[in-house]
């Protein structure tokens, strides 16, 4: 109903934000860890990583209009690719990060090819079934040759990041924080370039009216496929960052319940935005940290919150915030 209008001013707010607000955000992120204890710095860095994961879901759903439950598979393949890079090829961290990105992308190409070719409703079902299938294959002992022992490997000690003539160690929490923040910002920047490119704009056109987009001459299936692959790459990248920070990878990351978490985070934060998923993730993780001590099943509250947000503010916390600022002038 009012989506067109609000979309327009929302875009201008975003562009304004990207012109000046990024300085504010960047300085906040630089100064924030100085106020935090060591474990809190790691906690915030984890929020960044999961936020990037949620952002990758937003790219598929908010911009591509595809409700994908396979994002977790690509997060998992990111962890896996990172492990393969580190343990099999003996790459440095940079090589392993690239390896993780490539692993997720390579797996996304065939999955996306089939999934984006089916009708809208089938897409969700296909992605759920793909993730069930992947988890089953990786969990059964009979197909170990596919993934090798790299699904559950983790780094034995805090990794060193080589910068040519010197190197920094993840054992220092500040290094871990700043490195993660920088790499996540890089991912956010990539995502931003992606959605503000002609490619991203044509995807939005396609999401609003696929028929019209097709008549204008856009290749609907191909665009969807490419967006699926790009988002998978970002999910894999965030998976590698997680494997680097937490030094822990597991089969559970492949399960579609993890994609469900991305759905919660980005729906609560705001699906069609860059910062919404981060807001939603931060909100969820901080609430989790403080509420789960008193009330273990606090996720019920998030389910209710999600239903309320879907009903009254489908653009999430970020949408509410932008509207608030617009009202203020």
């Amino acid at each position: 109903m009012n989506s067109r209008h609000s979309n327009f001013s929302f875009c201008s707010f975003t562009s304004l934000f990207f012109r000046y607000g990024y300085i504010l955000v960047a300085s906040l992120l630089v100064l924030l860890p100085l106020q935090l204890a060591d474990y809190q710095q790691i906690f915030v860095a984890e929020i960044f990583i999961w936020g990037l994961f949620a952002l990758s879901f937003s790219l598929v759903y908010g911009y591509g209009g595809m409700l994908s439950f396979a994002q977790a598979v690509f997060f998992g393949f990111g962890c896996w690719g990172f492990n393969v890079g580190t343990f099999y090829f003996d790459f440095s961290i940079w090589g392993s990060l690239v390896c993780a990105f490539l692993a997720a992308t390579v797996f996304a190409v065939p999955i996306g090819f089939f999934a984006t070719r089916v009708r809208q409703h089938h897409f969700l079902i296909v992605t759920v079934i793909v993730s069930v299938l992947v988890v089953m294959i990786l969990a059964s002992g009979h197909y170990r040759w596919i993934a090798g022992p790299y699904v559950t490997r983790s780094l034995p000690s805090a990794p060193e990041i080589p910068f040519g003539f010197f190197s920094l160690s993840y054992a220092n929490e500040l290094v871990a924080y700043y490195f993660t923040a920088t790499m996540v910002s890089l991912g956010v920047f990539l995502a931003y370039r992606l959605i503000s490119s002609p490619f991203g704009k044509s995807l939005l056109a396609l999401k609003d009216n696929a028929m019209r987009a097709q008549l204008v001459g856009l290749n609907v299936n191909f665009l969807r496929w490419m967006m699926f692959v790009a988002a998978a790459g970002i999910a894999g990248y965030s998976g590698a960052l997680y494997a680097l920070l937490a030094r822990y990878t597991n089969l559970e990351f492949f399960h579609w319940t993890y994609s469900g978490k991305a759905v919660i985070w980005s729906v609560i934060g705001g699906v069609q935005s860059i910062f919404g998923p981060f807001l939603g993730t931060a909100f969820y993780m901080i609430t989790n940290e403080y509420l789960s001590r008193y009330f273990e099943q606090f996720i019920v509250l998030f389910g209710v919150l999600m239903l309320i947000i879907l009903r009254f503010a489908p653009d999430g916390i970020w949408g509410i915030a932008t509207r608030f600022f617009r009202l203020r002038g």
Binding site: V126, I129, L133, M136, S140, Y143, V300, L310
Partner: protein, 285 residues
């Protein structure tokens, strides 16, 4: 050979229960255009309620009458409160169903507990079957499923309300113009779908263990059945569910279960790509 027959029978009986659940998924999809991700959780709630009833009343058969009615009510309320306000957006309704599934799972975990529990076989009689013995309850479960499926189709084709449901599905505007109360039809349809899933939960409760994650395993099988049968095609869905589980049972007797599931998933992919409207659909062009 005995193993093949045994596993095939297990598959067949399990398939009848899955058919019950998948039918619910299919009518909700066909009429309301919602892929109900929470459907597996309604199935789980049915099983949990059956367990609760046994704890309090110590009569399993009572559950067969109470639980579907609870499901009918629950589904109708959910449709009215959660789904109705966002009925115009298919993807929003899927996300809402996912939120619903979270709420259901976590509330069950908070009240029922996280540890799996078992329901004792309510009949407790076995028949000799080749070298092993076979639970009579499985036959009863299959019988109940068949009766429920039959009753559902009778309801759909022989009653006024069933006719309304089919009419709204074919053409909502026209049906409303003819005086069909489409809002009530939607509520009852969602309620019926939920009731079928919860009845499936009761029937399956003595066969599987009861826990709050029960729905996660059933949902993908139901999805596959619904796709192979054709989205919204009710007899096709039921047939596909039975066929699929039967086939999985047979394949399991030759290889291990993972491969059996992979076979059915590959089958589904092939169907999806070659005949997206399901294998039982008539060719339109």
């Amino acid at each position: 050979m005995e193993l093949v027959i045994l596993l095939a029978m297990n598959g067949l009986f399990w398939g009848l229960i899955v058919a019950l659940i998948a039918l619910g998924l299919s009518i909700i999809f066909g009429l309301l255009d919602i892929i109900n991700v929470a459907h597996g959780d309604f199935f789980m709630v049915g099983a949990v309620l059956a367990w609760t009833i046994i704890q309090h009343v110590d009569n399993f058969w009572l559950a067969f009458f109470i639980v579907p009615l609870v499901g009918l009510l629950l589904g109708a309320v959910v449709e009215r409160i959660v789904m109705r306000p966002i009925e115009n957006s298919a993807s929003l309704s899927i996300v809402a169903a996912f939120g619903l599934s979270l709420i259901i799972q976590e509330s069950v975990r908070a009240t029922f507990g996280a540890t799996p529990k078992r329901i004792l076989d309510p009949i407790g009689v076995t028949v000799p079957f080749f070298d092993t013995s076979y639970d009579v309850y499985r036959f009863v479960a299959a019988f109940i499923s068949v009766v429920a499926i039959g009753a559902f189709f009778l309801f759909l084709h022989k009653t006024k309300f069933g006719t309304w449901m089919r009419a709204v599905r074919q053409n909502r505007e026209m049906a409303v113009a003819m005086g069909v109360p489409s809002n009530i039809v939607f509520m009852v349809t969602f309620g019926l779908g939920t009731g079928l899933a919860m009845l499936g939960g009761v029937v399956a409760a003595p066969i599987t263990s009861v826990e709050f994650r029960l729905g996660l395993d059933v949902l993908p099988i139901c999805f596959i059945a619904v796709i192979i049968g054709g989205l919204g095609n009710l007899p096709g869905t039921a047939a596909a569910a039975v066929l699929l589980c039967f086939m999985e049972g047979v394949v399991t007797s030759f290889t291990e279960p993972t491969t059996a599931r992979i076979v059915s998933l590959v089958l589904m992919s092939v169907v999806l790509l070659l005949r997206p409207e399901g294998i039982f659909a008539e060719r339109k062009r």
